[in-house]
């Protein structure tokens, strides 16, 4: 996907063909020369799982495609392969544009040590170039980076061009990361001065931009469990953990603090669920419904209401309790408008109600040990 976006933005990427049969793969090899035959499935680690094979000749390509097509890769059947031209790689570089959060600006990152994860590159081999907005990446900046990378002078213009196009993708695509790793110099042996090409690429797009529909042609990519997807569909932030106390609070910071508090009392949270700063009755009830379905040993709800009316939240909790008739301990900390009425309502229904976060967390941890 990333490579296709870059190709459309004019960044040179290896040539390739989508093939559905071994014969098509053989034809692709006849056209492109040595190729890599890659299973087209949306799962990671396909190389290790046998989903990528090298083919020097059309015959080898036919064999590789025959082996891969129809294969089951982590539960996905391979219907198509991508036959990609193999490059004669002379050097592997790293080039990315991302966001420097503390500088509040785009940041170009490059290294002459490409082909490995940038985290594994020693700090002194990493080149950083802050980019001022709204000026953007100017050609002279790309030349500075080319020079520091030690590229030959005749490659500076091509490097500048690619960096400029990556920056354009970064801005136009609302990206949080555009990465070419490796960016390769290839085919130098053929007498030409060598071409620069994005042999592999990654594009991370800002979830908020996607959420506003600004990049309709780019897919949301997330790795989430089915349960996580269900809760997130409610617009709530949710992460599964490996404990036994279901937790819900309103606000990311206080939810993390609630998990920390639970553990300080020896409790083991089974999830992070941020019901949002607003904490209105509707989503709270829906989220509680889902939490109950995971069979926790206890449920802790920590609501510090700003403008929320505690009696409404209490009523929503009571409604869920009555509907689902569950038996595990439910502990609710409720602070805000009408908090006294809210806690009274809860207690009347046999729900443990608190105004202190500390007491609620302690009680939840104890309840889970019973």
């Amino acid at each position: 996907m990333a490579k296709e976006v870059l190709r459309r933005a004019g960044v040179p990427v290896p040539d390739g063909r989508l093939c559905r049969t071994p014969d098509e793969a053989a034809a692709a090899a006849a056209e492109l020369g040595p190729i890599a035959v890659k299973a087209q499935v949306l799962v990671g680690g396909r190389g290790r799982a046998g989903g990528i094979r090298i083919a020097e000749t059309p015959e080898e390509a036919r064999g590789a495609a025959a082996a891969i097509l129809g294969m089951d890769l982590k539960g996905h059947r391979v219907e198509t392969v991508y036959c990609e031209q193999r490059l004669e790689i002379d050097r592997e570089l790293y080039l990315a544009i991302t966001i420097d959060h503390s500088a509040r600006r785009p940041l170009l990152i490059a290294s002459a040590d490409g082909g490995v994860a940038i985290e594994e590159v020693p700090e002194k081999a990493i080149i950083r170039r802050m980019i001022d907005l709204p000026w953007g990446l100017q050609p002279f900046m790309a030349r500075q980076v080319a020079l520091r990378l030690g590229l030959p002078a005749e490659a500076h213009a091509a490097f500048s061009d690619i960096a400029g196009r990556l920056y354009a993708v970064f801005r136009e695509r609302d990206a949080t990361l555009v990465e070419c790793n490796p960016l390769v110099i290839c085919d130098s042996g053929r007498g030409a001065p060598g071409r620069l090409m994005a042999a592999d690429a990654r594009l991370n797009v800002d979830d908020d931009a996607l959420g506003l529909g600004r990049q309709p042609d780019l897919p949301h990519t997330e790795t989430a469990t089915d349960l996580e997807k269900r809760v997130r569909a409610l617009g709530l932030a949710f992460v599964e953990l490996d404990g036994d106390i279901a937790v819900m609070a309103n606000g990311a910071g206080i939810t993390m603090a609630t998990l920390d508090a639970l553990q300080s009392f020896g409790g083991r949270p089974m999830n992070f669920l941020d019901a949002g700063g607003g904490a209105s009755a509707g989503p709270t009830a829906e989220a509680l419904d889902i939490l109950l379905s995971t069979s926790p040993k206890a449920v802790l709800i920590n609501i510090f209401g700003g403008i929320t009316r505690c009696d409404e939240v209490a009523q929503a909790i009571i409604d869920v309790k009555q509907r689902r008739a569950f038996s595990m301990p439910l502990l609710v900390r409720l602070v805000g408008t009408n908090e006294q009425r809210g806690t009274e309502m809860l207690r009347a229904e046999g729900i443990a109600a608190f105004t202190s976060m500390r007491e609620a967390a302690r009680a939840a941890a104890e309840a889970s040990r019973r």
């Binding site: 609302d174 931009a209 932030a237 606000g251 602070v335 805000g336 976060m357």
Partner: protein, 295 residues
């Protein structure tokens, strides 16, 4: 005294005719904030809680002399609305909306830097100077009480929790400011601390941080040179690495922004780091006592 906003701050509310904007305009007025005008394109000429509504910030500032802005516009409108407020000379400009695209946030921060304006947020509850002086944003007014403690926080409800516990403990606040939970925000810990360090009324500062990013580590560097005591609480001590905890910033990746890194940096700078939210108020009280004993 206080930082950034006080009883002289004349507030413009952008998006004042929306549900949230109208509700919080009423809340801000009840708090004592001088809300002098609102802006809502296409709805100029109306009134909201007695506050006149204008088509543009320029016009509103011309006619009502606003000095600061709070934006209740949706995420899609933030870039233009914030630039409009900045261009009209308003500062601080408080952006409440969450889910603002990060490229828009970067643009706004660059425009603010070029014009010398302070932006608070996006994805913040805002800023409040207690004692009925000024509230620009959405926090519940009842939790605040005027006093000597400055508070700066990344997360919202956690701020309320800690501010409420300070107030219950008799520790009032000079100004409470929410930086916002997004990865790119305007005013950061360091900028807030710089202002608290110069504010005569502020005698101690509470920093409410969380895992992810490097804002707390940068704050620690600045705190080394501060003469006022700082107490910190950090959320996310037990969060597993690599999982995003709600806030876009709240994720520990590649060893950066871990709880331990932040805690060590802050403690090395002389900050008392609270284990739990309810430990903050006692630590502040102890720091103030030491401070008045030593001075």
């Amino acid at each position: 005294m206080s930082i950034l906003v006080d009883e002289r701050t004349k507030v413009l509310v952008a998006g004042i005719t929306g549900r949230q904007g109208a509700f919080h305009t009423q809340q801000m007025l009840e708090f004592g904030t001088r809300v002098v005008c609102g802006v809502a394109p296409g709805r100029g000429g109306r009134e909201v809680s007695g506050v006149p509504v204008f088509e543009t910030a320029e016009d509103a500032v011309d006619k009502r002399g606003a000095t600061a802005a709070v934006l209740f516009v949706p995420a899609t409108a933030v870039r233009d609305s914030a630039c409009e407020a900045i261009d009209a000379g308003l500062s601080p400009v408080v952006i409440i909306a969450e889910h603002v695209p990060v490229h828009d946030a970067m643009d706004v921060m660059a425009f603010a830097a070029a014009r010398g304006a302070v932006v608070i947020g996006p994805n913040t509850y805002g800023i409040c100077t207690p004692g009925g002086k000024a509230k620009l944003g959405i926090p519940p007014g009842r939790i605040f009480h005027p006093g000597p403690v400055g508070v700066v926080a990344r997360s919202g409800t956690l701020s309320y929790e800690i501010v409420a516990s300070l107030t219950e403990d008799g520790l009032g606040q000079s100004t409470v400011v929410g930086m916002g939970g997004d990865p790119v925000v305007g005013l950061g810990f360091v900028e807030a601390l710089k202002r608290f360090a110069k504010d005569e009324e502020t005698r101690a500062v509470v920093l409410v941080g969380e895992i992810g990013g490097t804002a707390e580590e940068e704050a620690a560097e600045f705190i080394k040179g501060m003469d006022r005591p700082v107490v910190a609480y950090l959320a996310g001590a037990t969060a597993p690495p690599g999982r995003r905890m709600g806030h876009a910033g709240a994720i520990v990746e590649r060893g950066r922004g871990s709880f331990q890194s932040k805690r060590h940096a802050l403690e090395a700078a002389g900050v008392a780091v609270a284990e739990m939210p309810w430990d903050v108020a006692p630590l502040v009280r102890a720091a103030l006592l030491r401070g008045s004993g030593g001075a």
